[in-house]
Symmetry: C2
Subunit: 186 residues, 2 copies
């Protein structure tokens, strides 16, 4: 940030009174411009033993597969955002059944909330940001064509947890990943 | 947003190509300025049957009690942020034990992540944004002097869930509140 988004004059970077870190400050408007991490939501839409993934038509990771997801928009709840993203990217109607994981990515200032969902019916089609949308079982997932290592780690864990009896989940946590134990008790 | 934070020229509000809602766009920099909800974290720090609350020294809700919390900063994970806020507002060292609740407040573009924590030792003192910090049991909580109705709803539910046997939690959900069942299985 170089200029105040309110008045267009240059900002100063300084520690505001009573705070402990530098911020962009407009001395004209007397406004501190806070820059905070952005929230993304994703959904693992389930249909029987399969989950719905999308192949990305745009960057980043164009051509690779991942769960539908995207930025949380102003004015919506996180579950509304997850339902919207599944509709937009995979043309499918879902209901959200649980929060599955919370993943902080501080190096890129992002926070991911990953939900489990249930397809209301098995109708889907690629949205404008997807090349394909498709149901996969654990066996058919394109493990070497997923968007990120994090995607593969998450989905491997997801299928492992699905197979456990509904009781104590004892898998070790992934780095920076808070699992909410939608499959069992911590 | 009236002016581009990169170049200081006026922005135009328009729907970018391939998108479905108006954004602030700088036609000079060719940059879309996305405005997204902000994340706040809070922690319920536990010490035996008590929890640590702070009485706010500053607005909003100056003079009222609530769990320590605040905005997620760039470059930190959500649990780091929760630990930092307990240290800053209540002078106490905690470890985070579980994600307790996720609360969307779309009307003010905020998303709250509320954690359960454990005091590492029962030492605490009011930080610069607090008038007091104090341990309360369910019986001694100042129910009529809490920051928000949401705070009261959340803490009432928290104590109710603490008292349930560690098994199926069947309390009805609060509006817009995703509970992660850190006390039991959904």
């Amino acid at each position: 940030m170089n200029f105040c988004s309110e008045c267009g004059l240059p900002v100063t970077v300084d520690v505001p009174p009573g705070e402990d870190r530098p911020r962009a400050i407009c001395k004209h408007c007397n406004v501190v411009h806070y820059e905070n991490p952005k929230v993304l939501v994703a959904c693992i839409p389930e249909w029987k033993d399969q989950i719905l993934l999308c192949r990305r038509a745009i960057g980043p990771r164009q051509g690779l597969w991942g769960p539908p997801g995207g930025f949380l928009e102003s004015g919506e709840t996180v579950t509304q955002a997850a339902i919207r993203e599944v509709q937009e990217e995979a043309g499918a109607a879902t209901e959200i059944t649980a929060l599955y994981a919370v993943l902080s990515l501080p190096e890129i200032n992002q926070l991911y909330l990953i939900f489990r969902g249930r397809l209301i019916d098995p109708a889907y089609r690629a949205g404008s940001e997807s090349l394909e949308a498709k149901l996969f079982s654990k066996r058919t997932i394109p493990w070497d064509k997923l968007t990120y290592k994090m995607t593969a780690d998450l989905l491997r864990r997801y299928f492992k947890e699905r197979e456990l009896p509904h009781q104590r989940v004892t898998l070790p946590p992934l780095t920076d990943l808070i699992l909410t134990n939608s499959f069992g008790v911590r």
